[in-house]
Symmetry: C2
C-alpha cells in the first residue's frame, strides 16, 4: 500500500507531532447529508445499505467530498455482530434497532457462537477493502465495533431502552450468564476488528454507548474488563505501522483514568467532560478524542468557531488531540455548519502545535 497522504489522525492518536489538530465527526456519513439520504433511499432500507459494499463505500466517502476531514470511518452499524450470530437485526427510522430474536435465557446464551468474520460479516470486510481502494490513501480509514456490554445490552433487551431493565436484572441476578454472553461477544469483537485491520482499517474505535448506565463497579467488571481483553487480543501493528485503538464510553467521564489504563492509544470523550481536566487526569498515557457538544452545530458560524476555539484552548498546547464531537452528529444539522467547524479546527489549531517538541 502507498504511504497515507494525510496521516495527521494516526500521528495524533499516537501522540506524535502534528502541524494542526486533525478532525473527524462521529456519524459524519449520515442523515444530515442530502446525498446520504439519497443513497439510503436507493438502498431501500438501512441494513441493505450496510450490507452492500458499494453503497457502504459510497456513503463513507460522501462527507470527504464536502469537507476537509482528516479521516474516513467505515459506514456500518454497531450491531452487525449480533446480526451475524442470527439475532435478526432490523433498523427502523425513528425507532432504532430491533432484534427479532433477543437472547435472554442461559440456554440461548450457551448456544451462541462467535461468527467467522470472513463468512457472515464478509460484507463489512469487502466494504473496508473497497473504501481503502477508493480512498487512494487520501486520509486514514477507521474501523469500529460496539463494545461487548453495549452489544450484550441490545441482544438481551432486543432493542434500545431507557432503563435497560432486562439486561440489568440479568447482571444482578445471574452475572455468570451475563459474563458468558460477554465472553462470547468479546471473542467475536476481537475477530471482527482484527479482520477489519487485515482488510485495511488503519485505526479502530470501540463504541461503548451504554457503559455510562452502569455503576462504577459494574462498569469495571461488565464493560471495561472486556474492552481491555479486546485490546489484548487486537493486532496492534501492520507492516511496521501501529494501528491505534480508541475507546469511547458515553457517560464515562468519571472513569477516564481507568479507561486510559487499559492500554488503548486514545480515549474518546463525550461533551460533558472538560477536555483540559481529562488531559491532566490521564497525563501522557493516551491521546484524547473529542469533544464538542453536538448541539453547538445548531448555532451560528461565529459561535461554532468560538466553541471549537474554546475546546482547542482547553486541551492546550502540544500533541495528542483529535478533534471530534462528543457524540454523533444530529440529523437536523445544516451541512454548511460542519464546513465551518472543520475549517475552524484547521485554522485555529495551528498555533497550538507550533514549536512543539514531541511529548
Amino acid at each position: 500500500m502507498n504511504e497515507t497522504k494525510n496521516d495527521l489522525l494516526l500521528r495524533a492518536l499516537l501522540r506524535k507531532p502534528v502541524e494542526r489538530t486533525p478532525v473527524w465527526i462521529m456519524r459524519q456519513a449520515g442523515r444530515y447529508l442530502p446525498e446520504y439520504r439519497n443513497t439510503r433511499k436507493r438502498a431501500g432500507d438501512f441494513m441493505t445499505l450496510c450490507k452492500t459494499p458499494e453503497l457502504a463505500c459510497e456513503v463513507t466517502l460522501q462527507p470527504l467530498e464536502r469537507f476537509e476531514l482528516d479521516a474516513a470511518i467505515l459506514f456500518s452499524d454497531i450491531l452487525t455482530i449480533p446480526d451475524a450470530m442470527g439475532l435478526g437485526l432490523s433498523i427502523h427510522e425513528g425507532e432504532g434497532p430491533i432484534f427479532a430474536h433477543p437472547v435472554r435465557r442461559p440456554a440461548q446464551i450457551e448456544a451462541l457462537a462467535a461468527p467467522d468474520p470472513e463468512d457472515a460479516l464478509r460484507y463489512v470486510l469487502d466494504a473496508v477493502r473497497l473504501i481503502r481502494t477508493e480512498l487512494k490513501d487520501r486520509v486514514p480509514l477507521i474501523g469500529f465495533s460496539g463494545s461487548p456490554w453495549t452489544l450484550a445490552s441490545y441482544m438481551v433487551e432486543g432493542r434500545g431502552s431507557k432503563e435497560f431493565t432486562l439486561v440489568k436484572t440479568l447482571l444482578y441476578e445471574n452475572p455468570v450468564a451475563l459474563h458468558k454472553l460477554l465472553a462470547t461477544v468479546t471473542r467475536s469483537v476481537i475477530d471482527y476488528l482484527n479482520a477489519q485491520i487485515l482488510a485495511g482499517a488503519q485505526a479502530v474505535m470501540i463504541f461503548d454507548t451504554w457503559g455510562g448506565l452502569l455503576t462504577t463497579s459494574a462498569y469495571e467488571h461488565f464493560s471495561l474488563d472486556y474492552m481491555h481483553q479486546i485490546l489484548d487480543g487486537l493486532i496492534r501493528e501492520v507492516d511496521g505501522e501501529r494501528v491505534p485503538a480508541v475507546l469511547f464510553t458515553k457517560g464515562g467521564g468519571q472513569w477516564v483514568e481507568r479507561i486510559a489504563d487499559t492500554g488503548c492509544d486514545a480515549v474518546g470523550l463525550d461533551w460533558t467532560v472538560d477536555i483540559g481536566e481529562a488531559r491532566r487526569r490521564v497525563g501522557k498515557r493516551v491521546a484524547l478524542q473529542g469533544n464538542m457538544d453536538p448541539a453547538v452545530l445548531y448555532a451560528s458560524p461565529d459561535r461554532i468557531r468560538e466553541e471549537a476555539g474554546a475546546i482547542l484552548a482547553r486541551y492546550g498546547h502540544g500533541d495528542g488531540h483529535v478533534f471530534n464531537l462528543g457524540h454523533g452528529i444530529q440529523p437536523g444539522v445544516d451541512p454548511d455548519r460542519v464546513a465551518v467547524l472543520v475549517d475552524a479546527v484547521h485554522e485555529l489549531s495551528v498555533s497550538y502545535h507550533r514549536d512543539q517538541k514531541p511529548r
Copy 2:
C-alpha cells in the same frame, strides 16, 4: 411543634451521629404501589392528584404505612412552578410532562414573572401543612423543587426530550435570554422552597434532572451557579433547627466537588458514582445521599441485601450517609422488594455507626 420522633434523616444530612443509616426512596410515593394507583385513578389525572392537598397527603403517607422509611417526601411534581407561571402543564401516562405554552422567544421570557407561592402554588403549601399534621412528627418531611436549568429545559422544549436541542440552541446562540429565564426561575424556586419550609418542610432537595446533559463549563454557568444562588437565598434555620438542603444532579458524578462547594448540606448521587470515592472527594464538607442502582430492586431479596451492604461498606464507617436509590424507583418494582431493602439498610448499617465519634 413537637419534637420529631425519628430525626435520623436530619441528623445524617447534617453529619451528626446516628445509630443507623436512615433510608428513603426517590419516588417512594408512586406507581409501583397499588394503593397509589388506586388514589391516582380516583383523582382522574395526575395534576388533580398534585393539586388536591388531601390526595397529595394521602399518597405521601402511603409508603410510610408499608415500610419503615426514615423520611416522607412531599408528593408533587417538579414542574409546578412553570405551571403556576401559566405554561399549562399536563402529564400523560407514558408520555411525560407537556406544556401547552412553551417559552422560546426573548419576549416570552421577558413576560414571565415569579409567582407568589401562597397564591398560585397554595395547593402545594396546603399539602405540606396537611402532611405535617398527619405525620404527627413520626419522620421528617422533605420538600423539593426542580433546579432552574431543569425547569428552563422543560419550559423551552415544552416536553421531555432526548437531545434538548431547542434549549441548547438558546444556550449557545442567545445565552443572555437563557440567563434571564434562569434568573426568573431561580427567584421563583427560592420563594417556593422558602414557602415550603415555612409551611413545615424540614429539609429541601433540588432535583437537577438534566444538568448531566451539559458540558462542564455550561453546567457551572447555567445550572450550578443558579443552584448556588438558591442556597444563598434559602431559609436555613427555623426555630433554631437547621433545615438541610440537598442538591442532586443526575449525571453529575464528575462534578461532586463543585456541587459540595455550593454550601449545600448534602449531595445526592446517582447510581453511577462510587459513593466511597465520592466521600473521599468531598471530605467532610457535605453528607452524601444515595445511591443504589434502581434496577437492583428487580433482583432477588438476597441480591438486594448484598448490594445494599456493598454500598454501606463503600461509604464506610461514620456518619453523613442517607441511603437512597440513585434515581427514582421504577413503576415495575414489586413493593415487597422495597421492604427487603429498607430492612437490610436498617440492619446492616448499625455496625458502621457503633462507637463512632462525631466527625
